[in-house]
Symmetry: none
Subunit: 145 residues, 2 copies
DNA sequence: CAAACTATCTATAAGCT
DNA sequence: TAGCTTATAGATAGTTT
């Protein structure tokens, strides 16, 4: 709609894409408002530009939670389950990371080192030595201030 | 757009409202597709007619969960129920714990200790010394086996 | 009644400032 | 670069079949 017809495919020119985005985003939100008023429809419209900026419209007569509830019921999509699963995965991942660091910390403090072999003990000793050297350097430089 | 201009207010005639709904809903979805393709935007559009029928469109390059995640981050709205909230809290808590351990590990290795004061350095030195003593005991006992 | 039609209104592509 | 302009494409209100 305009001075020329355009093909519906990604606009390569970054600037035109941005300009077109702004215009069409405004148009889309306007239309969403109109159908919501004219036809007494509940509309949720969420748009992220390619640069990640958010724009959204929600019919006044509803809430996001209600829309999602209805959407969930109607579509059969497992939105919440998927979300739960991804959160649980993240927690598991962090727990592992956490545990590993905990073990490392204990070892550095000389705790729970029964299971370590000679080679591992040597590595630990070196690490502690290095740490001590660094700390003592720092202490000396502080004292000399 | 049509044979006459119309005011943007609820269409009282049930039948015209339904007809207009169908036409405009199709138009809206088409526009959503177009901006998604033309401008590389992520769009989620959910529409419920006044009779409760669902229509929705989602950009191919994304998922509902991703859209909601981003929406949640950007809007600050509380979309999620208590369970999700508590999971998010747990993740935050673990992140902090993680960060703290990370800092501690670095300090024990003598890294990033610039900000520490004398007292803290002393404590660190003692910890390292203790660690070393433990390690060396262990080493000796291993050798004597 | 829904699907097609078409006159008219609206959105917007390209240009301009 | 962000607004304004304008010619034209597109959407659609009312009509017809």
């Amino acid at each position: 709609m305009g001075r020329g017809k355009i093909e519906i495919k990604r606009i390569e020119n970054q600037n035109s894409r941005q300009v077109t985005y702004t215009k069409r985003r405004n148009g889309l939100v306007k239309k969403a408002k109109e159908i919501s008023v004219l036809c007494d429809a509940k509309v949720s419209l969420i748009i992220f530009s390619s640069s990640g900026k958010l724009e959204h419209y929600l019919s006044p007569q509803t809430t996001m939670v209600e829309i999602l509830d209805q959407y969930h019921k109607n579509s059969g999509d497992m939105l919440w389950d998927a979300k739960l699963e991804s959160l649980n995965n993240e927690i598991d991942r962090m727990k592992k990371e956490n545990d590993n660091m905990n073990v490392e910390l204990k070892h550095l403090n000389g705790v729970d080192i029964t299971s370590l072999n000679h080679r591992e003990l040597m590595a630990l000793e070196d690490a502690l030595d290095d740490g001590l050297v660094n700390i003592r350097c720092k202490k000396v430089s502080l004292i000399n201030l």
